[in-house]
Amino acid sequence: MDAIILQILNGLDKGSAYALIALGLTLIFGTLGVVNFAHGALFMIGAFCSVTLQRMLSTSFEMVDETQTDFLGNPLKVETPYVEAWFGPEVGAAIIDWSVPLAIFLAIPVMIAVGFAMERGLIKHFYKRPHADQILVTFGLAIVIGEIIKANFGANPISTPAPEAFRGAMDFGVLLGFEPNTIIYPYWRLVYFLFAIVIIASVFAFLQFTTFGMVVRAGMADRETVGLLGIDIDKRFTFMFGLAAAVAGLAGVMYTPILSPHYNIGMDFLVLSFVVVVVGGMGSLPGAVLAGFVLGILQSFASMNEVKAILPGIDQIIIYLVAIIILLTRPRGLMGRKGVMEE
């Protein structure tokens, strides 16, 4: 029982990441009708916002300490971060410690700007082009973004720890009446799950309860008619692209303590997020979220030793197997509409 609860928690956690990425992807596809293969790259840019902020906060000045030596035997240069010099060692260290959550405030403007720039500079010219062209140009863009990141940050994974307060694990089982220490779960993963729920809920609330959201939803259903009503739908859609980029970016920022970011992380998530979107049904926001969680949980269960004992290696192919079964039994995914992306 405890093993199953643990895997459900793992599944929800994996599912949060999948759902957030798929949600952004679907926002872009649903509003703009563009298949964005650079979406994984947006997730990665978000992740590197964490790294950048961590580096910025740790920017240091050097002082030569004659009493110590470095690896070549020269006097050691001691580095003190500016924030520690300005705010005192303790507050300064705390600020650096909290750089991942703080990076949210960096990531929102950065991601919106990146989203705007991408939409205005590139995607805009591809509305009328076939989906294949959109896939290809954004795929090219994803390669270029990855390489730029690599040129600046190297190819190694970079350690971006969570704040000290969230580094341990919580005894989750006690809440459910289990023995102490049977179900313990990392704080940060719980934070990530709650964070994902908040973001998903806000996006839905925004689309459901604001006039802006209503217009966008109307535009998703019938772009032309909304345009004929004299509403500048293009401008709103550009904003939606920025929003989608921000969602992907925030998913990336908060994921860095779980997965040390590297320049190829976007590509790693790309295929997976497309499978999620297609399983959910192209263009369906609830479908994307649902499929994200379903696939996350299934993947976790498939990784259990008991399951692997019967079907060795099932954990490596489960996602694709499920995708094939769903697409064959439900032609348009879990919640897809007819006629979307079928030509």
């Binding site: 093993a3 895997q7 690896f71 190694n156 040390s260 976790s300 290696g313």
Partner: protein, 451 residues
């Protein structure tokens, strides 16, 4: 499509005849008067190929290898401070290149993909006329390139490759490995694990599901079971899984008190980070403190895992903090040129390049068969690992192995690992026909000069 067999043969014959007819001033590069592939002949220079990952997950490691290789070429050509040439037990290399020929090099990108690595090595051999290929950061690539060098008739000096197979069932006469292997990791870790953690433990393996992972797990498991440890479970994880939570969570209540992560690179960084997040390091099981072991460490991965590696034991081929003269000389020339200490991958590539140059000098020829003869059962010292032997039976180097652990209180950004112990060479040796190394069937074959 098969109906065209006759015409195809016809065309081939015609092509061959036409080719032969056109090629009046012809010579076969492979079996001309020189008798081996890419013989430098009267040329004042000789070219070697540095085939390392420059893109993909091990790019940083590959670039570090490249730095060391360029440094080796400088030293061979008499530039710089000479590095390990001054401490090497053989004194044949005098800074005039190899056999009086200036050393030139070409570089290539393996992307850590066997196909690409072979394509790159082929271009080095066929286009650039390389007589030796070195470098690489994965066992799959090493095995693939080694096989290519064997069939093309050039020498392969392996870079970072840790799988038993490279000098085990996939050993080749033209290939040599200076780096240590999974078996040696296990054998070296044994005494330290016994001293630190005792004989009554229960281990849980997470193993990357590919050849290196399998052989490493096999080796470590043999050692720990030899110490009396139980093996609770050995779980295969997909390579590049990213999120390992669903493999780590079952460890919690499995009854195991030791987690062995047979992962390397990004997988190691992520699985270790996540295992620490699950509170494994603070856990108590069976009255023991829970411990994590990482069989193969590298400096770059240690940096990626940050504070999570503190106190985690693993093994290494070489570390820049060693105190011997060879290490000091190498760290000095590398550090002064690039501003940071070299990684173990860089060290092995540097040493391999020098060893090749020395073997050629002693053999008096670049002919691969001469080089093979010179390297087989060659004993040397002063290259950072103490007295070392290149065993003739499988072309594996035998030397002391380092056991290291993550530094508890790092003093600078390069101080990620500290040396716990140096397991003497006698304890990590094994028979060439050991079952983990392909048993009696494994054979080097014969050296191929490519004629």
């Amino acid at each position: 499509m098969s109906k065209s067999t006759i015409s195809r043969r016809g065309v081939l014959k015609t092509g061959a005849i036409a080719g032969a007819g056109l090629a009046l001033p012809t010579y076969l590069r492979a079996d001309g008067h020189t008798g081996y592939t890419n013989a430098p002949g009267d040329s004042p220079t000789v070219t070697i190929g540095f085939n390392v990952p420059q893109t993909g997950p091990y790019a940083e490691e590959g670039l570090d290898e490249l730095r060391a290789q360029e440094l080796a070429v400088e030293h061979l050509n008499g530039e710089g401070d000479g590095g390990m040439l001054n401490t090497f037990s053989e004194k044949n290399l005098d800074g005039t290149g190899i056999l009086g020929k200036k050393v030139e090099f070409v570089t290539g990108d393996t992307q850590t993909k066997s196909d690409v690595a072979r394509a790159s090595a082929q271009s080095m051999i066929q286009k650039d006329g390389c007589i030796m290929i070195t470098g690489g950061s994965s066992s799959g690539v090493a095995v693939a390139v080694q096989d290519l060098c064997q069939s093309s008739g050039v020498i392969f000096m392996a870079g970072l490759t840790h799988s038993n197979d490279t000098t085990g069932k996939d050993r080749k006469a033209n290939g040599f490995r200076h780096f240590f292997n999974g078996f040696m990791s296990g054998a070296a870790l044994g005494p330290v694990l016994e001293a630190e953690y005792g004989n009554e433990r229960s281990a849980y393996h997470l193993t990357a599901d590919y050849n290196w992972g399998w052989t490493t797990q096999e080796s470590i498991q043999a050692t720990t079971e030899g110490l009396g440890w139980q093996t609770q479970e050995a779980v295969l994880t997909p390579v590049g899984a990213g999120d390992f939570s669903s493999y780590i969570a079952p460890v919690l209540n499995s009854g195991a008190d030791t987690l062995i992560l047979n992962h390397y690179g990004g997988d190691m960084v992520n699985s270790l980070t996540q295992a620490v997040q699950f509170g494994l390091k603070d856990r108590q099981v069976n009255g023991n403190d829970f411990k994590i072991i990482v069989p193969l460490y590298s400096e770059l991965m240690a940096a990626g895992a940050g504070a999570n590696i503190q106190g985690v034991i693993g093994s290494m081929n070489w570390n820049w903090q060693l105190e011997d003269e060879g290490t000091k000389a190498f760290v000095k020339s590398f550090g002064e040129k690039y501003g940071f200490p070299p990684s173990g991958a860089a060290h092995t590539c540097y040493v391999q390049t020098l060893l090749y140059a020395d073997a050629v000098t002693r053999a008096g020829t670049f002919n691969p068969c001469g080089v093979v003869e010179a390297l087989e059962d060659f004993e040397f010292d002063g290259m950072g690992n103490g007295p070392t032997t290149y065993r003739g039976a499988d072309h594996q180097c035998f030397k002391d192995v380092l056991v290291v652990k993550g530094t508890e209180n790092p003093t600078n950004q390069y101080d990620t690992l500290e040396i716990v112990d140096q397991t003497p060479r006698s304890q990590v040796e094994y028979a060439p026909d050991h079952p983990m190394f392909g048993g009696a069937e494994a054979s080097l074959g014969t050296c191929n000069p490519g004629a």
